[in-house]
């Protein structure tokens, strides 16, 4: 397959960037999207040009490192998939593909397609944990948790923190990420003592990082590689309002 890429190139955080066209020949439909970029980068290196910088790590769809806005959709055209698990069989010979970095004030571009997602780490630091010494693992079933609750907790815990929700949101809001990180602790007993404080502090940090406000477009849910439902945002709203009106208890 022959593909024409239009890729956002930007030297560093302080430089002006722009879209640059690249012709990539000999693309196999079995290649992953990132392997196709690897191949292009090898050609660029041979030509003595700067390779395209992009984020990737596990390439198994579980680490949340890869990103990329592909033809206007976060993680590309395949639903429930990260960019590393997207394959070139989803495209046709002769296709033009536009690749841009995540766009958000809280995700500044570091270089080309790489953005700094430390703002997510700071939101976690604001309350996305349980502050007790857990000690050794307890005996199984020591702490009974209803199946329904543990399922909900695991649904939220599937979040890999990739930032696709922010990238695709018309408002640049991070509510699906924060709601997932609040939600996976809100459905288990271990999360209860700090539940109110957690919701208040994590939402305050989300706002301080400069993410946008949610107006329920649900674009985040549509692109989430882990299919985390927006219902967790509804739960987070409740937790936050309860915490704001009733205090810490």
């Amino acid at each position: 397959m022959k593909i024409t890429l239009h890729v956002w190139r930007q030297k560093d955080a302080n430089s002006q960037g722009g879209m640059k066209p690249y012709e990539v020949d000999g693309v196999s439909k079995d290649m992953s999207f990132l392997e196709m970029l690897d191949m292009l980068n090898e050609q660029l290196i041979v030509q003595g040009k700067e390779p395209i910088a992009f984020d990737h790590d596990c390439r198994e769809g579980i680490c949340g490192t890869c990103s990329l806005m592909i033809n206007g959709v976060a993680h590309g055209p395949d639903g429930s998939t990260t960019t590393c698990q997207l394959h070139m069989r989803s495209f046709k010979d002769g296709d033009a593909i536009h690749i841009e970095p995540w766009r958000s004030r809280a995700f500044p571009v570091v270089r080309d397609l790489v953005v700094d997602r430390s703002s997510f780490d700071r939101i976690i630091q604001a309350g996305g944990y349980i502050s007790i010494n857990a000690g050794n693992a307890q005996d199984a079933n020591n702490l009974p948790i209803a199946k329904h609750s543990s399922d909900l907790s695991m649904d939220a815990a599937a979040c890999i923190g990739c930032g696709a929700c922010v990238a695709s949101c018309p408002n640049g809001s991070a509510m699906l990420f924060v709601a997932a990180k609040i939600g996976h602790l809100a459905h288990v007993p271990q999360g209860q003592p700090e539940r109110a404080k957690r919701a208040r502090n994590m939402v305050a940090q989300m706002d301080a990082e400069g993410f946008g406000a949610c107006s329920n477009h649900y674009e985040c849910e549509a692109v989430c590689p882990k299919d985390i439902p927006v219902n967790f945002i509804s739960e987070m709203n409740k937790d936050f309002m309860k915490a704001s009106l009733c205090g810490d208890s």
Partner: protein
């Protein structure tokens, strides 16, 4: 966190929008049910109008309360829009919408148009400063305002009816996203009721549209005269 700071937060602004939205929806329902008495004849509608007038100072409390609720609703919208505009200083060259609706994307425009419509509606029927069809100044035999004649004559005028139908279309659009959206915002939406809640907004929008538009249509087709 103080209440002021809470309302300025991203979620607080949404909740303020939802709560003021509910109050405005209650008004829209009451306003429609009250006016639908036009189908019960002149006496019913005129006595309803007189009952409202007789509230005296209380009527002004309600009016000022409604205005305050509307202003808070607009203030919440400004907060959300400002946060969202600032959140993406460099925009995409390409970004596709996969899930959102036309109504959701046009909330700001439909909201602003509704403000224009409300101003027109008050100047038309409440104040009487805009009198397109010569519909003001009617009096009943006992010397009270003849609201029934005002409504019927006002709506027999084609351009007026067209403006009201357009206004109700915009209201229907605004409500179709707003009603479903407020249920999500206030934490009522979950896995089992999500698809129902997403249909409640459009259904409610159509309900209000049909109810309100039935009055000008009845006047222009001669069903009420």
């Amino acid at each position: 966190m103080s209440l002021g700071n809470t309302l300025k937060s991203s979620i607080g602004a949404k909740v303020l929008m939802a709560v003021t939205g509910i109050l405005l929806i209650l008004f829209v329902i009451g306003h429609m049910l009250g006016n639908l008495q036009v189908f019960l004849g002149p006496e019913k509608l005129n006595s309803y109008a007189q009952t409202l007038q007789d509230l005296g100072p209380l009527l002004w409390v309600i009016r000022i309360g409604l205005l305050a609720i509307l202003l808070l609703h607009i203030y919440a919208a400004i907060t959300v829009v400002k946060m969202s505009k600032a959140a993406r200083p460099v925009d995409y060259q390409q970004r596709k919408d996969l899930a959102t609706s036309f109504a959701a994307r046009t909330m700001l425009v439909s909201g602003l148009l509704l403000v224009v419509f409300i101003v027109f509606h008050i100047l038309h029927f409440t104040v009487g400063a805009i009198d397109l069809a010569g519909s003001t100044g009617f009096e009943t035999e006992d010397g009270h305002k003849d609201v029934y004649s005002m409504v019927v004559v006002g709506f027999q005028h084609m351009p007026t009816t067209a403006i009201y139908i357009l206004g109700m279309l915009i209201l229907c659009l605004h409500l179709s996203h707003g009603v479903s959206s407020l249920m999500q915002t206030l934490g009522f939406r979950n896995a089992s009721n999500a698809s129902t809640i997403d249909k409640v907004g459009p259904a409610f929008g159509v309900f209000i549209f049909v109810g309100n538009v039935s009055m000008p249509l009845a006047a222009i087709t001669g069903i009420i005269s």
